[in-house]
Amino acid sequence: MMKRAFGLTKRINSIKFALLSPEEIRKMSAVKVITADTYDDDGFPIEKGLMDLHMGVIEPGLRCKTCGGKVDECPGHFGHIELAMPVIHVGFVKNIKNYLDATCRECGRIKLKDDEIEIYKQKIEEAKKMGASPIQLLLINKKIIDEAASRPICPHCGAEQKKITLDKPTTFREEGRKLTPKEIRERLEKIPDEDLPLLGINPETARPEWMVLTVLPVPPVNVRPTITLETGERSEDDLTHKLVDIIRINQRLRENRDSGAPQLIIEDLWELLQYHVTTYFDNQTSGIPPARHRSGRPLKTLVQRLKGKEGRFRSNLSGKRVNFSSRTVISPEPFLSINEVGVPEAAARELTVPIAVTAHNIEKMREIVRRGPHPQGDKYIPGANYVIRNDGRRIKITERNAEDVAKKLEIGWIVERHLTNGDIVLFNRQPSLHRMSMMGHLVRVLPDRTFRFNLAVCPPYNADFDGDEMNLHVLQSEEARAEAKILMLVQEHILSPRFGGPIIGGLHDHITAMFLLTYQNPKFSREEALHILSYLNYDKLPEPHRDENGNEFYYGKDLFSLILPKGLNMEFKSKICDPTVCNHKCVYEKCPIDAYVIIRDGKLIAGTIDENAIGSMKGKLLDRIAKMGSDIARKFIDDLTRLAIGVISYRGFTSGIDDEDIPEEALIQIHEIIQESIKKADELIELYKQGLLQPAPGRSLEETLEMEIMRVLAHARDEAGKIASRHLGLENPSVIMARSGARASMLNLSQMAGSIGQQSVRGQRLHRGYQDRTLPHFKRGDLGAKARGFVESSYKKGLSPTEYFFHSMGGREGLVDTAVRTSRSGYMQRRLINALEDLKVDEDRKVVDTAGNVVQFLYGEDGVDPTRSSGGENINMEEVLTEVLGEKYLLRRRK
């Protein structure tokens, strides 16, 4: 087992990049590879071949000829190939081009006068002293190179310069004549060390001519292992395939050169070698066809291994796979606290928590170990899967050895105990877009096979239960558990840093239920009240009221008041508030539609609890309670969700298409209004055709017409909706949902009952399709409402074929938008994360980067933590005054 290093933190001081010189490549090489073959007929690696045992071993049983190690011991060793002729390294063509441009073709000096060289050198020194970033230094070098490249005559030897062009990817031409890599290398060799800093090279670590390869390093076999299929067939790695090509061509080139073959043949082979070496580095070089496998699949060479999402960096270094984690489908469980997560027993038995054995817990640990990996019994009790001894050896506990291991248990050992109720774990749903995407939950081991949690926690994860899966991670150290409990527990994330309001709160049925419980204060008999409250942990009923017959009853608002924290005072308007009812003059507690909420000392006096009170993201009541402390807030939300389930399942609540039934005369009225508007649109078109339409300021005649028609038709839909909603009162379940904010909107209802209205794509009426018309069912150039995507029908009535088609066009836009938006915002998010990931807020609220450079002098310029703000504002005077002055302030505020 790997040993853990404790207390060993080191800071990276600097990173240096250098080039490998040919000598260095030869020096680190364990073998000079000369044969393109890999294995002989017996399956044994051929000497001096690509699988030479000097380069490491991948077959068990064999030993490395360099270090003597076995398969898992030998780290692998490089080999090398001597190239018959030099070739250009594709990764450096840009640099080579710059160096050729900036230096003299005759004497190799940089084309700057001596005094200029001095000035530039000073400038670089100064920039380094000022703590310039590598990018800034690069910019200085770029400027120097541009300056030097523009000189037509060498200031040192007076030689005339010729224009060098780069023929992508690797061919250089000097005024049309091809430069061979050999010539290029010779030119780069001539550049003196003193001129190199100006070109951005540190002469101690690199020479420009090393960018033209004469020796090619061969990576260890561990990097390109042979795969043996079940059939016994061997399959080589892509890199090996490419190296085979290189060696073959290299050999042919050498033979032809040595035997004095015609220049033309040599040049062809040389170019082929360049192609193979280029694709060996990067098989996606633009301008050349990618090298392919026999099957036609492009080879995955060096650059492809590193680059992109599936590359080494993003896939294996930035993102690692972890142990002690699990993933399964999620489902709702309203009887869990928001802090909890239901874990299936099967997962709990597999996930473990390491517990150090001490004098205090040794007997308990013995008992747990004794139970083994599969404790029996109706009730879940934790067992253990492994124990780790003092010497770091790991012993697997089986049913057979459990008793034995338990007896031998010593202080200092570690027992890997099963997950059990109350353990803290991290729970996560991708995409992890904000910090609430990963929160700490307390475990509740439950039967069946899904992770379960309280519905109020759906919004932060953006989860639903249509098959979503989530991940769970078990913390392995005491520090991590403490951090999770203090910082990551769900109750600490009720307020979102995005908008300073609650993101966890009632949704859908919770809101409907609270509406039903509080709107117009319904009465409940003792039995009913007891039934509803049995969902909660309250052992006392509130004081009963008595009706004229002397029967005890309870008001809905009193039942709701039970879950409110003591000492809470506030007033606000409900979502159902409709200012037309009271002529914009609020009458507070006397509101005829019970839409003004008044809470005094934790008792609901008046008003309806709906989305504006308890909705996630919008709930004012929730917001206040969340700021009273996370424990109080958690309790409130737990009680709220349980009470809601109690109310709604006792009363019953259902919605169907007949909710949108409206009387025949209303339907006729709607039809008339729409016909009238269509006619009005036709009149506008007529006006336009006669040239009598007045253009709106800043718009063309056509635009004006479109605008007017859109306005008229939108008005028609609204009117139709108004008529429909006149017949849909608050006793209607669909209306209850829409008005209380639980789900849907009045617009949705009016589209079901009244008319769907104008369909649009990119904010315009539909107009594309056939020549001058949307569908062949209409006349060319018809601008009328029906021909341009106006849908008169309602969802309930059903759509005509043309209407259906138009509706699909409008619907398609929505789908395309979401598809485009998610990919674009994902990339934007990635770039933001990369730019901001290591900024931090320091002790005095400055925002600084890792080097201590100031980004912001005060976080957000106002130093406010949005989670502790109120809607982003520093302080909420209203809350402060209410707290200090109580009712006095609330009453005064009304004026």
Binding site: M130, D844, K846, G852, N853, V854, F857, L858, D862
Partner: protein, 84 residues
Amino acid sequence: MGKFNVLEHELVPEHYLVSEDEEEEILKQLGVKKEQLPKIKKSDAVLRVLERKYGHIPVGSLIKIVRKSPTAGRIVVYRVVVRD
């Protein structure tokens, strides 16, 4: 050349040169070294206007900028003059 003053433009925040005595105090208060502060180029149009007022401003001077901020109303930031 017309004497156009960028500082008078609505979108350009107020700029002031910080005196040497204040400079030390500000850096102490912020707890940062000079080179960790944001930078302003010597060639910045604002500096040309400031030089008309204060005379030559050497590289390494501190400029105080008072900006409008959507969150805080007013915010003071500092920049160091660097050569370009």
